[in-house]
């Protein structure tokens, strides 16, 4: 008998019902911990809230609920804990903006002394708290190989304070401190830090990137990270509708385009070596990514034509370089045929 075929038009997603129970997402499980529960004050379509919920619930499942989280100052902290409310249903500590990695180191050290090796530690921050102000503490934590998973929710600017540029802001992006004015509107080229690669340079056991466009992959990476000890780093791209000027309903779409253009590589590294990449399955030009975000609006004229072809070309060549560097097109599939319903198949 011929295998049963399931056809999904225009999508690479496979519904939970179609995969083995053990492989289904944490969120599909009624026993999920709801670490970051509903009622918090994040904006509609917040990528960080989505990413944090999936990441923390996956970490809770991986540790059997034996988890402590440390949080840097930032959107995630502010929208989740306006006193006397809290959205955290896990043991959670916020100290300062710059010290989440060091506080987590202290928690891990205390747990070791107390003989509580069953309890694991996650530390989390936005890109400001990781790439910029918290960088010293993070590098120290990496270098000592302290037993902490550090998660950076990267929305590429200081969103909590009103969208100012960070060391993770991409070139040409408009922020409140890199306005779309002057001869080179938006953020300048040739600056910024690649924190996943810096983390890799510390030769820590595990470094991975993920986005909120592939939440199953995000959960897998959290699980893998929690299966090892020592310093681990997970960098999650989380679009911010407010700061990026994208529609609240486009958060997942924007994140997917970031990967499908090659601008944001999704990969895993162990001890400083890349061991797996997620290939681009449907290559898109960077223009598709830029057009749906207000922070790049100045690259186009009101009619929608490219107003800054040089800038768009420079961003495209950045994406091309990233694709080449990580081998993101190797093994990629051909574009699915339009409308014929042969996108993906799954044998039951």
């Amino acid at each position: 008998m011929a295998p049963v075929r399931f056809y999904q038009v225009g999508s690479f997603a496979v519904g939970n019902r179609l995969v083995d129970r053990s492989e289904r997402t944490v969120q599909s499980d009624a026993g999920r911990s709801n670490s970051l529960t509903s009622g918090h004050r994040a904006c509609q379509g917040c990528g960080e809230a989505l990413g944090a919920r999936y990441a923390l619930d996956a970490a809770m499942r991986a540790t059997g609920g034996r988890l402590v989280a440390v949080n840097a100052t930032g959107c995630l902290e502010v929208f989740s804990t306006p006193y006397p409310e809290t959205s955290w249903q896990i043991a959670w500590l916020h100290s300062l903006f710059a010290n989440a990695p060091a506080v987590a180191t202290g928690v891990a050290a205390a747990l070791r002394v107390k003989g509580r090796s069953d309890i694991r530690v996650v530390s989390q921050a936005g890109d400001g708290g990781a790439v910029d102000i918290g960088f010293g503490c993070l590098s120290g934590m990496f270098e000592r190989n302290d037993d902490v998973l550090f998660i950076c929710y990267d929305n590429e600017a200081y969103m909590n304070t009103g969208v100012q540029r960070s060391g993770a802001t991409p070139p040409a992006a408009r922020t409140a401190t890199t306005e779309a004015v002057g001869p080179h509107p938006g953020n300048v080229f040739g600056q910024g830090k690649n924190l996943p690669e810096i983390a890799m340079a510390h030769r820590i056991p595990y470094v991975a990137t993920a986005t909120v466009a592939d939440l199953h992959d995000l959960e897998d990476k959290v699980s893998r990270a929690m299966a090892v000890h020592g310093s681990r780093y997970l960098h999650i791209l989380v679009p911010c509708p407010l700061g990026w000027g994208s529609a609240s309903s486009d958060t997942v779409r924007v994140a997917r385009l970031a990967t499908q253009t090659g601008l944001f590589p999704v990969f895993e590294a162990e001890r400083g070596r890349v061991v797996r990449v997620t290939p681009i399955r449907r290559l898109a030009p960077v223009e598709d990514y830029l057009r749906i975000q207000g922070r790049f609006r100045h690259l186009f004229d009101p009619e929608g034509a490219v107003a800054q072809p040089g800038v768009v070309a420079a961003l495209q060549s950045m994406a091309d370089a990233t694709i080449a560097r990580y081998g993101l097109l190797a093994g990629a599939e051909a574009e699915p045929r339009q409308g014929t319903g042969t996108g993906t198949e799954a044998a039951s």
Binding site: P84, E85, A109
Partner: protein, 402 residues
């Protein structure tokens, strides 16, 4: 320190604190303090943050620093007290730059005056050791951090016979740390939430109330310590021959040793003079100070710090303690950046005080001519060159060639 059974020690090296953490790291590495973790932090800011995390997870946490290190960690210093974590920190008192200077004064401790920490000042190496035992006891009872201040080099690098109590005696005095709030997956709390105007003032008031409670507990723990170990270390203040004194010198830290020598000498000459050592600078024991000084005709506050543009720091508190009494308070700023406070300089200050000739604010041993010459240079030329170098040249310490 080692007798206090610390569980997490974290530090970043800075003179003159280094050999404290060197010794502790060795104890931990040898296993002498097990179970205890030593974390080599990448900065003082990280060191205090590690202590915060360790304390939040229920461990007895300790760090040590000085000077620039304290200022570098200051955000976390406030955070530790705001969150109510009983971290104990040794502060090896050192000047704060610029100009950079590694020697002793109290500028660093004064910068942390309002950070919500208890600040205890040791007069001797023995007292520094004793105060650490009391500091942990106090911190953990109150659920707030305590700083033990000991003069850099003068005490940190002194070789002195010290009576160390037995582990058994220390354990009887200092029970294991029982946190008020702990990060525990079985009873999850959110610690460190954002608090708006509707409750912030109340939260700060509770911190103030904790310090007021500390005034009583510091005295009581000091008495308990004296009973258990036979030494009068700790407490709020220590009077020295001041009961019938007309002039009383108030000071903190190791300089009290010199002051007592001068008091003895002048007493022998018939002068009615005494001293008051302030052990607890924060909380400041207004009543105890008023009681100790109320009978004096004149009070001289000798302090190793200066509130630039104002004068004394400790003096302000002492004057407040004497509010309403007709006791004039003079400030003598002394020993900045490690300048020796000599017996002869102290003698002349005290003689001036007894004769009513001491001014409201004096900089002890200040080279007035040198300063005047530099002020003149600065007035004459906008680019008059680096002041320190100019003055060192005037003193003949650097050559005229540069």
């Amino acid at each position: 320190m080692a007798l206090c059974r610390p569980e997490v020690i974290c530090a970043y090296p800075i003179s003159p604190q280094t050999h404290i953490i060197e010794a502790l790291s060795e104890f931990v590495k040898r296993g002498a303090l097990a179970p205890c973790e030593f974390v080599n932090a990448e900065s003082e800011f990280a060191a205090m943050s590690v202590a915060i995390g360790a304390s939040a997870a229920g461990a007895r946490a300790f760090t040590a620093t000085a000077s620039q290190g304290l200022l570098f960690m200051m955000e976390a210093v406030y955070n530790a007290s705001g969150l109510g974590f009983p971290v104990v920190m040794t502060l090896a008192n050192r000047a704060v730059g610029a100009p950079i200077n590694i020697w002793n004064d109290h500028s660093d401790a004064m910068a942390a005056r309002d950070a919500g920490w208890v600040q205890l000042f040791a007069q001797s190496v023995q007292e520094a050791a004793d105060l650490h035992l009391q500091a942990f006891r106090l911190a953990e009872e109150l659920s707030g951090p305590v700083m033990v201040c000991m003069d850099g080099f003068v005490l940190t690098h002194a070789t002195e016979r010290v009576d160390l109590p037995s582990q058994q005696a220390v354990d009887a005095f200092l029970p294991p740390y029982e946190p008020r709030q702990v990060l525990d997956p079985d009873a999850p709390y959110s610690i460190g939430a954002m608090v708006g105007p509707e409750a912030f003032e109340e939260v700060r008031y509770l911190a103030h109330a904790r310090q007021l409670a500390a005034v009583e507990r510091i005295a009581e723990i000091g008495s308990e310590f004296a009973e258990a170990f036979g030494r009068d270390s700790g407490g709020l203040v220590h009077s020295y021959r001041s009961a019938d004194a007309e002039v009383v010198v108030v000071a903190m830290g190791s300089v009290l040793g010199t002051i007592k020598e001068v008091v003895d000498a002048q007493r022998a000459g018939g002068a009615r003079i005494g001293a008051l050592g302030v052990t607890s600078f924060r909380p400041f024991p207004l009543d105890a100070v008023r009681q100790a000084l109320g009978g004096a005709r004149r009070v001289v506050v000798l302090e190793k710090s200066v509130s630039v543009g104002f004068g004394g720091v400790l003096s302000t508190d002492v004057a407040l303690a004497l509010n309403g009494l007709a006791v004039p308070v003079s400030t003598v700023v002394a020993g900045l950046g490690g300048r020796p406070i000599t017996e002869s300089a102290l003698r002349s200050v005290l003689e001036a005080a007894q004769g009513g000739r001491l001014e409201k604010l004096t900089f002890l041993d200040l080279k007035h001519e040198l300063v005047a010459r530099e002020l003149e240079r600065m007035a004459a030329r906008r680019r008059s060159g680096p002041s320190a170098e100019n003055m060192l040249r005037d003193l003949g310490i650097v050559g005229a060639g540069g």
